[in-house]
């Protein structure tokens, strides 16, 4: 027969296990701001008391997944914040008593997409999301709220290219808080060393090819004529730059309202042939380097003469002590026209799952105000997304930055990269595979394009 102490021990053990089980089942679920963040949010949501003068309104927490410049940074025990964040958060809360804005950084690109998917699956999605190139896909899945009926007062001040990436079926689902555009960058020290005149940058593709070849020949392995960011996996970094040249030749990457890939567009043939030639004047191996920063800093280090540059390159060149970097519009093809592609776009959109959709939409239009837009360039060195802010900024910046602002304000053809609604990873892999063969084989361009188109269409099935 069981001894009494042993029996009491077993009862105690069983009771402990059962109570642990109940405790686990009854645990309070983690707060949305901490459950899915890759970077722990610093701004702990402390609900402010309801304004005494307001009606009986529950305190509201508006959760916004924001781009890094809006999120405070922990430095030891101190929290570093920016004027941009202070203006955005504090001013919005001042105008909306009882509302607490929680800004969270959940990474960018692939990391952001994964965190967003996890949050949606786990029911902890925010009110407002941020990103660059998945909004059409999400809009097609009916996951976003259109903003058109809130834009009447401000639409004229918006630059269509900046929100084009969030337009689906004619409706606008997101607006850019800050943006960027491509221009052309040159290292005058390299160009002059090769015996060319840096005051006359190449105006056409033929000029560029010739100059790049001359510089490469003169460089004898010490420097080259061009830096070309090439294909890596399904990354679109290199494709963004290729898209600038495609836009100049009206060689769209998509058709049927941009729902289907058009990788065998006949207009793209001369573009790809041009790029194949241009690649011969690049540092060996650099085109396939996966590190985008390393690719573009070669020019700052006098290893190459020309490259397509995002508008943030002006500050980047200074930070990297480029001896003499200058900027101009991208050279155009013989029968083409100036064009550029929006890049570095920070778009905010409202999720349909938002608990406070009206307030969330107000936040997005709030970011279009001059008071916020005027702080963008001085605070983070990026371009504002509205006409009025760009116009005010232009006289106060360097010639280099003025060149980019001119493109933003005056370009009639500001394009965005297509956003595939189905299997974007497989489609962009097909395009990058084509670019890889373009730069490493002599296979006819038309054949490569056909193969890419077949693979891309198969991916859309």
């Amino acid at each position: 027969m069981m001894s009494t102490p042993r029996r009491w021990f077993k009862l105690f053990a069983a009771g402990t296990l059962v109570s642990m089980l109940f405790a686990a089942c009854g645990a309070v679920p983690a707060s949305p701001s901490s459950s899915s963040a890759t970077t722990a949010p610093v701004d702990v949501a402390t609900t402010e008391p309801v304004d005494a003068g307001s009606t009986t309104q529950e305190p509201i927490t508006l959760t916004i997944w924001a781009e890094g410049s809006l999120v405070p940074v922990l430095d030891g025990s101190a929290v570093t914040t920016s004027k941009l964040r202070e203006m955005a958060k504090d001013q919005f809360e001042k105008e909306h008593p009882g509302v607490t804005v929680v800004l969270e950084d959940h990474g960018w690109d692939e990391v952001l997409r994964q965190n967003l998917t996890n949050a949606l699956l786990g029911g902890t999605a925010p009110d407002v999301i941020v990103g660059e190139n998945f909004f059409q896909q999400y809009a097609a899945l009916d996951a976003l709220i259109p903003l058109d009926d809130r834009l009447f007062d401000i639409k004229e001040n918006l630059i269509p290219g900046t929100y084009q990436a969030a337009v689906y079926n004619g409706k606008i689902y997101g607006l850019a808080a800050m943006t960027g555009v491509f221009g052309f960058e040159r290292n005058c020290e390299v160009i002059q060393d090769a015996g060319l005149n840096c005051d006359n940058p190449p105006q056409t593709w033929d000029d560029l090819l010739q100059q790049a070849k001359t510089i490469t020949d003169k460089g004898a392995g010490n420097y080259y004529g061009y830096t070309l960011q090439g294909p890596v996996g399904f990354s679109v970094g290199g494709i963004f730059r290729v898209a600038v040249y495609l836009a100049q030749a009206d060689a769209s990457l998509c058709k049927d309202d941009c729902k289907e890939p058009f990788f065998d567009n006949p207009k793209a043939v001369p573009v790809l042939k041009f790029l194949r030639e241009l690649n011969k004047s690049t540092p060996p191996g650099l085109t396939f380097n996966a590190d985008e920063a390393q690719v573009y800093t070669q020019l700052f280090q006098n290893k190459s003469a020309y490259q397509i540059a995002g508008s943030w390159h002006t500050n980047w060149a200074k930070e990297n002590k480029c001896p003499d970097c200058r900027y101009s519009p991208v050279p155009t093809p013989k029968d083409g026209h100036p064009a550029s592609v929006i890049v570095g776009n920070v778009i905010y959109a409202v999720l349909k799952e938002s608990k406070h959709p009206d307030l969330a939409a107000e936040w997005i239009t709030f970011l279009q105000r001059d008071a916020f837009q005027d702080l963008i360039y001085p605070t983070v060195g990026r371009l504002p997304a509205t006409r009025s802010a760009l116009t005010k900024l232009k006289p106060n910046v360097s010639e280099a930055d003025q060149a980019f602002i001119d493109v933003m304000l005056n370009s009639e053809d500001l394009q965005v990269l297509p956003q595939w609604q189905k299997n974007p990873q497989l489609i962009w892999t097909a395009y990058n595979d084509m670019l890889t063969k373009l730069f490493t084989t002599d296979t006819p361009v038309e054949q490569l394009m056909d193969e890419a188109q077949k693979a891309a269409i198969a991916a859309t099935q």
């Binding site: 296990l17 949606l120 060996p284 191996g285 189905k422 595979d433 099935q461």
Partner: protein, 312 residues
Amino acid sequence: MKTRSAPSVTSPIKLATPNRWARTRYRHRHAIEAWIILIPILIYYIIFAVIPVIANVAISFTRWNGINAAPVWVGLQNYARYLQPPYPLILLNTAFFAVTILLVQTVLAFFIALLLNEKLFGRGAYRALWYIPTLTSAAIMAQLVTVFIAPYGGVVNNILQSLGRPPVIFTISGSWMRTVIIVFSIWRGVGGPVVLFLAALQSINPEVQEAAMVDGAGGWARIRTITLPLLRPMLVFVLVTGIIGAFQIFEAVQLISKGGPFNQTNVMLTQIYNDAFVNANFGVATAGATIMGLILLVSSYTVLRSMREEEG
């Protein structure tokens, strides 16, 4: 004074008989104790392992984006997707990597364990050295590899260029990237089997080896006739766990080659990840996970059975 009278035949002592429930409880007391202890962990296992597997299989028969809207039944459509490019190549890559890594790693681990079992000066340090890659973060090791094989400014290409040779762009060569993935995976994974084989070798009675030596058996003969048979149970364990690990290759591809070039290093887990989080296609992703599960089940069973048949 009342005295107790002895019990008579007609009035036997009536002992307190327990009821049926108490009898059952007593008879099965050990099983009851075991269940009480096991139930919490079983509940945890059911919630976090069994239910997700069932949900995974169920979702694999639907079209679902994971973002909104309910899953829509599509039958075997997601599985049929695995018959269309590039999925057959991805399946082939996975099998190729799994078999190659498993075989090379197991053989290498065995011979390393044999060497580490010898009385060498500093063998403790050697043993630690072989295990360090297993403990090191895959991300850090992958970063090291990319620094070595970077097409521009990489260590290998810098050496080649200093010797007057042209750079090698490893990332556009399927053969090179497959080799890199295999070497990386073996480098990272060989430590575990080495430790297991070493433990098994140390459990072999040295007198058996000595007796064989006295009988004139050479080194290789002793390995073949004594060491390997005695190591069989551990070998089965290493092969079965190795298969499961080898088929689940992910970090090497995700961090080094990203599946390229031309999907030649793309494997099941990276494609499942991309289908779920990039393509928002949970139906195809879960179908892939189910296929992986079945492959692992069949492979593990095949290895176990063939080893047992050889024993029998």
